[in-house]
Point group: C2
Chain length 417, copies 2
Amino acid sequence: MEREAAKLLDARDPLARFRDRFSHPDPELIYLDGNSLGMLPLRSRERLREVVDTEWGAGLIRSWNAGWVALSQRTGDLLGSTLLGATAGQVAICDSTTVNLYKLATAALDQRPGRRVIVSDLHNFPTDRYVLEGIAAQRDLELRLVEFDELSGPTPTALDAAMDADIALVCLSHVDYRSAAIADMAAVNAVAHDHGALVLWDLCHSVGAVPVELDATETDFAVGCTYKYLNAGPGAPAFVYARRELLARARQPIWGWFGQTDQFAMGPGYQPQPDIRRFLAGTPPVLGISLVEEGVRLLAEAGIDALRAKGVALTNLAIDLFDEWLAPLGFELASPREAAVRGSHVSLAHPEAYRISRALIERENVIADFRGPDRLRIGPAPITTRFVDVWDAFARMRSLVETGAHLGFGADRAAVT
Amino acid sequence: MEREAAKLLDARDPLARFRDRFSHPDPELIYLDGNSLGMLPLRSRERLREVVDTEWGAGLIRSWNAGWVALSQRTGDLLGSTLLGATAGQVAICDSTTVNLYKLATAALDQRPGRRVIVSDLHNFPTDRYVLEGIAAQRDLELRLVEFDELSGPTPTALDAAMDADIALVCLSHVDYRSAAIADMAAVNAVAHDHGALVLWDLCHSVGAVPVELDATETDFAVGCTYKYLNAGPGAPAFVYARRELLARARQPIWGWFGQTDQFAMGPGYQPQPDIRRFLAGTPPVLGISLVEEGVRLLAEAGIDALRAKGVALTNLAIDLFDEWLAPLGFELASPREAAVRGSHVSLAHPEAYRISRALIERENVIADFRGPDRLRIGPAPITTRFVDVWDAFARMRSLVETGAHLGFGADRAAVT
């Protein structure tokens, strides 16, 4: 595979023009960590200026009625209709993924009184496991962590084998944060529903990267973050989805004034909103949600099908280069080979993955992501990454490990997804 | 009282120079709603540009280790040491006031197993009441809402009369959002502690306006928002305080990865941080917390004693003008006359308060705050308000009501604190 071939893919890429919609203060940097923190859209910088200077600085308190009050739901509806397959009134932007998991898991469990088990993936993302562990401890329930095969994820068959009539809630990630294995949402939902359980999906590594159809798959609840593929900035607020049929009776545990019907009457007694706003709690982070709106608009303009097609092509290229250059150097593929069940990142295992990741950053100006104990995650966000970036990054990895140059790097071990 | 007298007060005001540290796109606007949403500090605009362009845009994922990971606690420590009388490790910036109330109230109740009552103020801010109502419903506890005198707030004597041995938690606002009555934190804490209860304070209308001494008053838990007197922007993240002696065993309900010891090991089993970070949950909102840091720096530079002195002088002026001009027009003072027990806003009751508030905004370019059913809240934030602003606003209120011009205004009724 020659570099010219990658350049040709870029020349034919219908999304190539989107690269210029992002800030590139260091044009030489190869950023393959869009699955941890997305890049800065230029339009978001402008939007922030408008929100800060005009809406806050000039509008002051008047801006609440001029638009801020409706921002959580308006942005949720936009996200739902463009990237989640969810009709209006079921998605809102609020709080963090962790807080939202807590709210939805609690609401789900309240729908299944008497059942005493929560099922999740033994290797689910830590905050998901911790939240469920905490809820199980408080409610004296069992958290049953099932070890699914990393490369196939929680298949319907594997889940079915773990199900019984005592399971209230199944909480899983749609795309595995390690391997990028994609779960079959519709089939998993059907299995859980057959056993009378509800399902809560974590879409952090899916939203904006792979098509999601929440309504059509009969998903019950979902959460996800916006700072990865949606490019809404560090610690941007997350989203919640609750299926319309469940909304009328699903109550979240944190009763706050933004979840209250007729909020500004400020009356006695909590009466939750009829729609997804009942999952709001406190005053929404206006700056953060505004950047979510910009991020979603940008991805919606590119189109999820085009983004998915490019994500497949980029990771296919990565796997081809792995086969040709890296497999002989002791790397192993830790993601599915089959594109249809692989999200937009590729994991490679190598005993020196940490040193390699440090050498890539410090010497090669390539940012990929290390995940302990031995994983290098290559996350080429479709909207910002060129095929030639993948080619160059893999060429440098090959050269690093061939020469042993990576062995001089690596001390502390910290990273944020 | 002549306008010249107000101008003289401005000429002698040691904080007058701080007005120029804020954005004034409309220099004629008189903004008396700093107790709902603080104004935009110029330095915050710059800081946001740095965080967005440099830390996010250029630094990307590297910025987590370069500073973002420590931001919640660093900013909490700064806030604690400059405005809350709290030594390091007890304050963090995270989530919303509502979510933080939920976390702390739950943690407090877990410390008093067997006790079945939560006490709060019947007229406490709605989100506080709703959160406690929700917790009481979930835990099958009693929420006992005590009607304290609005002008004296929850006095130690009144609270003592409501206490019994079944009360686990007392949750009160330090400064009443309606009347601005200041509670005696040390004495209230002592009363609650004498009865074996813990106390959770809402400092939303205190922080940055009146001195707070959390350590010295033996406060157990506190929350507060940063978008009022701290000028951190719409929906900016809130703060939590937990007393050092309680931290080791106090557990919050939302177990997330930012509360986890050795977070990036991403290991099995939740082990909370030893300090206030155990009250963090999800990924912190970096842009929001950065603006909290700038807001706190600005107030710390002005100094809480100088801010408090000016707050007293501004509200004294407002009350003098009320006596002279507005009392004869049917207004009533709904705040304490005694400055020592009054926060930085003044409430006036008038049957046409809503129409007056609309006429002030739409015709007089004066923003004050309406609170149902009949209150006008005048919130002259000490760091941004001139004495002449108060004089002008009151002169216009007098003129409006004398001429009946306010009767042509007022339709919808929405406002956000």
